[in-house]
Amino acid sequence: MEPDVSIETSSMIRIAILPIGEIPHQTLRDYYSMFHHHHPIPLSSISSFYTEEQKSPFTSLPWDTGSLRFKFILGGSPPGPWEDFQSNRKILAVIGVFHCPLSPDLDSVIEEFDVVCKGYASALVTRCFGFFPCDSQLEDGAKKGGDLRFFPPADRQTQEMHFQTMMQEIAASLLMEFEKYVFQAESSGTILKTPLDLQASLSSEEVIKAKKRRLGRVQKTIGDYCLLAGSPVDANAHYSTALELARLTTDYFWYAGALEGSICALLLCNYLSPFLSFYQIDQIGQNNPALEDEVRCRFNSVILHYKKSFIQENSQRVSPLSFELEANLKLARYLCRRELSKDIVELLTSAADGAKSLIDATDRLVLYVEIARLFGTLGYHRKAAFFSRQVAQLYLQQDNRLAAISALQVLALTTKAYCVQSRASISDNSHNNEVGSRNADSGKMHHQSVVSLFESQWSMLQMVVLREILLSAARAGDPLAAWSAAARLLRSYYPLITPVGQNGLARALANSSERLPSGTRCSDPALPFVRLYSFPQHSSQMDIVKRNPAREDWWAESAPSGPFIYTPFSEGQPNDSSKKELIWIVGEPVQILVELANPCGFNLNVDSIYLSVHSGNLDPFPISIDLPPHSSKVITLSGIPTSVGLVTIPGCTVHCFGVITEHLFRDVDNLLHGAAEGLVLSDPFRSCGSPRLKNISVPNISVVPPLPLLVSHVVGGDGAIILYEGEIRDIYISLANAGTVPVEQAHISLSGKNQDSVLSIPYETLKFVLPLKPGAEVILPVTLKAWKLGLVDLDNASGIMGRQLKDSSSPSLLIHYAGPFTNFEDPPKGSVVPPGRRLVVPLNICVLQGLSFVKAHLLSMEIPAHVGENLPKPVYVENSASKEANVSETKIDLFRGSRGLRFLELELSNPTDDVFEINLSVQLDSTDDKLSIGQDAADYGYPKTRIDRDNSARVLIPLEHFKSPILDGSFFMKDFKPDEAADSRNSSFSEKSVRAELKASVNNLISRIKVRWQSGWDSSGELNIKDAIKAALKTSAMDVLLPDPLTFDFRLVRNNLSHGSNDSRLKGSVLAHNMTPMEILVRNNTMEMIRMSLSITCKDVAGENCIEGTTATVLWSGVLNGIAIEAPPLQESKHSFSLYYLVPGDYTLVATAVIEDADDILRARAKTDSPDEPIFCRSPPFHVRVIGTA
């Protein structure tokens, strides 16, 4: 069995080409390659070398169209047993090749050549070609003559010419030798035997038959030589004779041989073209159905006769089966066209079936190779792969390294059909295209990869093939191939491999890599699986904003337009939304998150992993990582962009198991997609317990020149700023330019919730320091006031303190800044404005619940005044004003009593762990200060109230300052319409406007009450209790703010107190049984004259208050009534009267006035509408203590 058999083989002259002496490997290949151009030598070209000594036996040699076909056997081959049967199997010529510079001694060359030639007894022509001879060698060689031929150094073309001539000469010599042989063969008794005959001839008795047989065989051999000589017509004639003789002598084997030869002759006759082989002719389309049928018919006969020649006795030793199979293959190759696939499949199937009976394993191997080749030609790749695998198995049976290498190579051919090919075998071109297309439409799957996912389901076959590759590579000593096979096996089929098997593969990987030089790259990734996790956008610290040079607020257009997160218009173009743009900056580190998975049962140690960047403008930083069995990890891979341009990151480069591989994200995406559809065995990430990820769209990444980079920190620590509600504090934010470009523009704004908690922003400070050079720093003071916690916040706060508060509710400072408009480093690009940046400085304010306000209510206090003696101070006169004056010192003059003194009581509780001090201050209006001379207009210094932790306290705020003291105060003039009635500008004011004015004045009042607190050293703030005060004041605002139209005062008249030596004891008291002169002072607080009818009631009471209480026990009562008094505006009227007390005890004096002709103002003040209703004014009760005389 021979490789590469075809019908044409019968017409080929075998020439052994043997290296003589020492020849470098590459040079030898070079020399060999020269022969390849010269396998058909046209007869027409050799005529000059041909001399016809006798009349040629090849009578019909086609000199014009014929050719000699050479088949070069590089390195020669040992003679086979079947050379007599088929002359084309003989080595008919030997050409030695030697390299003159390395073999200077021609004698030794000749000697060696002669020795070599002895091994080829069948050789008719021997030549020895010497390349690159020196002059001396040329000379020497000329003397020696013989078979030496020299090719002097020349250019390739000249050498080829020279070479061609030499080959033509050899062809001519061969032709002449063939003639000689034919002459001899016919005359002399050449015995032709085959291994098949050896034993049969012993038993042969019929001599005549044997002679005839010999004749037939000789004729067949002559026919063979005619074929070799390129004369099919002659060959045909001899074959006919041979066929006849063989048929007569039942020499089936030779009959079949002759028939085979005749087929070749037939085809040669038909296609007399020296340069084309038969199949090529067929493919050109010159096929001839009649001829084809004839060939087929004859081959069937050939096969039949080979079968017949099978002899049972020696079937163990030798068999014509291989010739039968060869005939099969020859026919198959001849017919090998798609249209005839059925026939060919049959032929090849029967050939394959016959393979089992072949004795020689090498024969079987050759047969399988040929079958595989033919199936491949036919387009039956799977079948071809199947037989290739058979070949590989046969190689592997041989158990030596060379065979293993062959097995490996053959298996490598099958990988495509089984879809397990190494990525190295997929051309780089398509690879790059795919990368490009992936970037173009990242969302879509590449069709090819989908198909490959489907095909990958033949896992049983694929694993077998990969295992065989691994085995043969290990045996062949090809660690890289072994590594690659193990990697493919592990990566694709880990779910089907037991943990023990996985460990074995891991060991195989490790072992292979030990034999590889460090830094070896392999195109097939092993583990881990790497997928893109996310492309982090710029952190808010270094966000990039497009810059609109035309506008002052150049950042404005880049902000998201509109208040909605979802805009229906953007949904229309899904491409746009999925295609995110990412801008990286030269020199600023970037990060990408990737997820690694190790679904196998061993510990995976990734020596290093880093981003693989094809665009070359990113310096990736490698990291190493350890993945425990069945685990996945998200890791951050970083790098620094080095130059401006686009960046594509197709995957990661991984150094694992000693070999460097590139893991493409696209592959894993496809795999995961396949897993999602159930097409692939398993999702490595899910099997590691990692959740499913949505497809990550790869943004278009471009790198831009350096930009300024502001870095902020809060002076004193970047932690949360913890403030109690209402606390006011200054913080200092330091901004430093960490970039390499100065900041030339900067602007601060606020964003987020609770923006009003930022009380002041230092715009000017920032403007002042521009441009901020690289490395420079500026400190910005910002004043904060903590906001009030809402109910929700309170709930949260009570749950887990401060954990979640800061994120959602804190305001942020937005600082938009940019470098210079033009880029200094790259002036031509100046037209493109470099983008600006945005720095978000989140003010991490954590508001703690501080003092909490529980409730506020208004208290009114009535302390009856004593009708006193002539007190030294004339305070009685200036009633309301003196009250104000007193407050600051003594709060309330108990003796004087107070009427309608109102307090706002605030109940505060302190739920915190701190102690708070409350500092109440009431601010007086500056317009009011003439009434409070000597007072600081700003504050009243109430003593501080301290509230301990978890306690509550009440704070009283006296409201009396707000009562209108007199009616000409401009403050009241301004604010109170009722008092402005005197201006008669607005005499018909309405109730409505009263209310409005009231409201305004209440607000005014409230705004002047400040409750400040202080806690510890540095916490201070203000309670926001405006609403509470407002609510508390709502009902009685008028009483608080407006004075009564009339105020009363009683006084003892002093002049008759002559006897009072024990004054000190009896101070402020009245003696019984004495006429007690008294005065009542009625003050008119309005701007108009009031006439009234005054009554004075004096009651002797047991209770405190005899006026209002119905249950009070009135012991005595007397009334002075009908006193008509007129009080001029803003003045007092005095009415003197005397009382005579009979019984010592406590008495109460009350004055009541009925105002006559009350005007609207008074009515409004009295809250009455009806004009008929009398308007009463009543004084507070005054106490009179009457002491007995004894």
Binding site: D353, Y380, V450, V451, Q457, G678
Partner: protein, 150 residues
């Protein structure tokens, strides 16, 4: 005797392969089924030359190999059914007989397949894992063995 039946998807992905022999020859049968796709592909790609008309789903004998004969059947959705049998001397007329031949077997097999993929939980393109389908197929194979024997 039927030794193996297979369903192969339109991307030449195996959907179902079941052998009916006791011997451990799954790999061999996989190979046979895999190789038969060459022939199916060829017939699909050159329907005229192989004499296949569009309506004909039964592809007939795909190829003989060693001790087996491989028959094929192609649905309109390019799903292939492959049958590997050891009955080497079956006449073509018997094969195409719709009452008891292999063509009949394929019809029934096709019906079983259609029912299997009509399951709303079946993912097209995924391997058929339905036990009902497996049982039904093995019934069809058994009954075929009986009818062809009888």
């Amino acid at each position: 005797m039927i030794v193996c039946v297979a369903v192969v998807g339109h991307q030449n992905n195996p959907l179902y392969i079941q052998s009916f022999t006791e011997a451990d020859d799954a790999l061999k049968l996989h190979h046979i089924v895999h190789c038969s796709l060459d022939v199916v592909d060829e017939r699909v790609n050159n329907p005229k030359k192989s004499g296949l008309t569009l309506n004909e789903t039964f592809l007939g004998l795909l190829y003989p190999t060693e001790n087996y004969k491989v028959y094929g059947y192609l649905t309109n959705t390019k799903v292939k059914f492959i049958l590997v049998t050891t009955d080497l001397d079956v006449r073509d007329a018997d094969v195409r007989n719709l009452r008891y031949g292999i063509a009949k077997f394929f019809r029934r097999f096709h019906a079983a397949y259609v029912d299997a993929v009509s399951n709303p939980f079946h993912v097209p393109g995924k391997r058929i894992t339905s036990r009902t389908f497996a049982e039904r197929v093995s019934n069809i194979v058994k009954s075929f063995g009986l009818s062809s024997a009888g």
